[in-house]
């Protein structure tokens, strides 16, 4: 059993890698969310050009492999556009974020389509501007449908962050390779301990992401406890639950 516990120094090394992993995750999540929302809305635009651009982006981002996109970002783009010392971390986040945006845009699009049409019609009747319509009427209701698949998507991005070790970023996975080299130099043949540890770290982060999205869902449910079609609830949680059950 004690093989499963690494030394303190090794955990400290892993922590350094973990910070890089988390910052790649954070940046690409941020970019991914912005892209998902904007492209998802663009996909439903009445303008054909806007719709076409969004469609091309979505097909590109979903069709290409994230690892190959990462290599293109890290190796081909700097030369094509003539900058030599780009930040690898930002380039990697850009690749993963672009990738996430493609999937996320389809989720957003599907969720907006799932909001009953009467909502849009009512907000037009109330003379809301298109932006207000989206911001105050359609998106809050679509968010309920968006959140669960977005949690899964974020976990996919977390798994994708391990790829940045292949373009020489010192993330968690790269640290593991370094520790493994040290172990081999010290004639440690057991690999299980190290890898069980790092797999557990990824697993725990994934569960945390899962939990955060669950909490967000619940918070949202409390805030907009009535579903489309329900009457506004007056009688507190009991009637709200009864309405949701129907």
């Amino acid at each position: 059993m004690e093989d499963l516990i690494l030394s303190e120094g090794q955990y400290r090394q892993l922590l350094v890698g973990l910070r890089v992993t988390l910052s790649v995750l954070g940046w690409s999540f941020l970019l991914g969310v912005v892209l998902s929302l904007s492209v998802g809305v663009m996909r439903l635009s009445s303008n054909r050009v806007v719709r076409g651009v969004a469609l091309v982006y979505v097909e590109f981002a979903r069709g290409i492999s994230s690892i190959i996109l990462l290599f293109i970002m890290a190796y081909a783009i700097p030369i094509l556009f003539g900058f030599q010392q780009g930040s690898r971390l930002l380039l990697a986040s850009l690749a993963l974020g672009l990738n996430m945006g493609g999937y996320g845009a389809e989720i957003v699009r599907g969720s907006i389509l799932a909001v009953p049409k009467g909502q849009t019609e009512a907000s037009i009747a109330l003379n809301l501007t298109p932006f207000q319509r989206l911001r105050f009427v359609v998106l809050p209701q679509a968010l309920r449908i968006i959140l669960p698949p977005f949690g899964n998507l974020t976990i996919e991005i977390l798994k994708g962050t391990a790829l940045v070790s292949l373009i020489a970023l010192t993330d968690l996975m790269q640290v593991v390779s370094i520790i493994r080299q040290q172990q081999l130099a010290n004639q440690v043949s057991d690999v299980t301990g190290l890898f069980v540890n790092v797999l557990m770290i990824y697993f725990v982060i994934a569960q945390v992401i899962n939990g955060v999205f669950r909490l967000a869902e619940r918070a949202l449910d409390r805030r907009f406890s009535s579903r489309p079609g329900d009457l506004p609830t007056l009688g507190g949680p009991a009637t709200a639950a009864a309405g949701a059950g129907g």
């Binding site: 097909e59 690892i67 094509l80 292949l166 690999v191 890898f195 797999l199 990824y202 697993f203």
Partner: protein
């Protein structure tokens, strides 16, 4: 769709109607045969071995050399074939193991259900890159077992996506109406007959589009094994050409383009399948 009145739906529909056996229906038989044929060809024909290289030398200050790009299409294609072949072979593991995992997860005993759920969740939420390296090191540490890089890729990729497929199968099995189970019990069918003749034939068509999506996803994850395990796939080919010629724009851009050439038609086929399944369900 003309809805048959309930009284006639129990008796066998007339020959030539919608209830023909699937293998008599050319609309289904032909795609199935094509898939099987493609699989047989892929499984038996390996990509020719050899180094990934080109004799064309591009000018140093050219950011993108067209001539150079054309000359590396052939080696990159070879790599893409290896990647696609490994993916398809891995997916046979996915299809079988996924169903097994789904059944384990539905087991009546908690001692089976909970570990299965944990294993599925664990494999699903950890990076496949780590799993590749872990498995490679494990195999290396065990005496008497030696697996080639391609075999490791096929095994790990197959098992990784089996955990995804198991969730899809589970949803498919759950989508079979309860009345079907009850009818099977009422007709005194054995559990085996219930599964093979009632549940699976109804569950699998619903699951096919999801499985197709996972096949495309697996294809996108397969090149990771290039730099990590040394599988001579498309990314390996691109990095080899880069090491050989010190040119990195063309190999990676072309690798991306080659990828889109495969995965976009595949995604399109899946969408057609989706539309068709949705149509038949109504």
């Amino acid at each position: 769709m003309t809805a048959a009145p309930p009284s006639t739906s129990i008796s066998e529909a007339p020959a030539g109607g919608r209830h023909r056996r699937w293998y008599r229906d050319p609309g289904r038989l032909v795609p199935v045969l094509l898939v099987l044929l493609g699989f047989a060809v892929l499984a038996s024909v390996e990509a020719p071995r050899g180094r990934f290289r080109t004799d064309v030398i591009a000018g140093r200050d050219e950011a993108f050399s067209f001539e150079f790009a054309v000359s590396i299409i052939a080696p990159l294609g070879r790599g893409l074939y290896t990647t696609a072949r490994a993916t398809v072979l891995a997916f046979t593991i996915t299809l079988v193991l996924g169903l097994v995992l789904a059944l384990l997860r539905r087991s009546g005993s908690r001692l089976v259900r909970w570990p299965a759920a944990f294993v599925i969740e664990f494999i699903r939420s950890t990076p496949i890159l780590v799993q590749f390296i872990f498995f490679q090191q494990l195999v290396r540490a065990i005496d008497g077992v030696s697996l080639g890089a391609v075999q490791i890729l096929i095994l790990v990729l197959g098992v990784h996506y089996a955990t995804y497929a198991s969730e899809a199968y589970r949803a498919g099995i759950d989508s079979v109406p309860k009345g079907q189970w009850e009818a099977a019990i009422a007709l005194n069918l054995s559990p085996l007959t219930t599964w093979t003749r009632i549940v699976i034939p109804q569950a699998v068509p619903n699951v096919l589009p999801t499985l197709g999506n996972y096949l495309v996803a697996a294809l996108k994850d397969a090149p990771i094994a290039g730099p990590v395990l040394g599988v001579p796939g498309i990314l390996f080919a691109a990095t080899a050409i880069r090491g050989d010629t010190f040119r990195q724009v063309e190999p990676f851009l072309l690798a991306g383009a080659g990828f889109l050439l495969v995965s976009l038609p595949a995604a399109w086929l899946v969408r057609r399948l989706e539309a068709r399944v949705a149509y038949e369900r109504t």
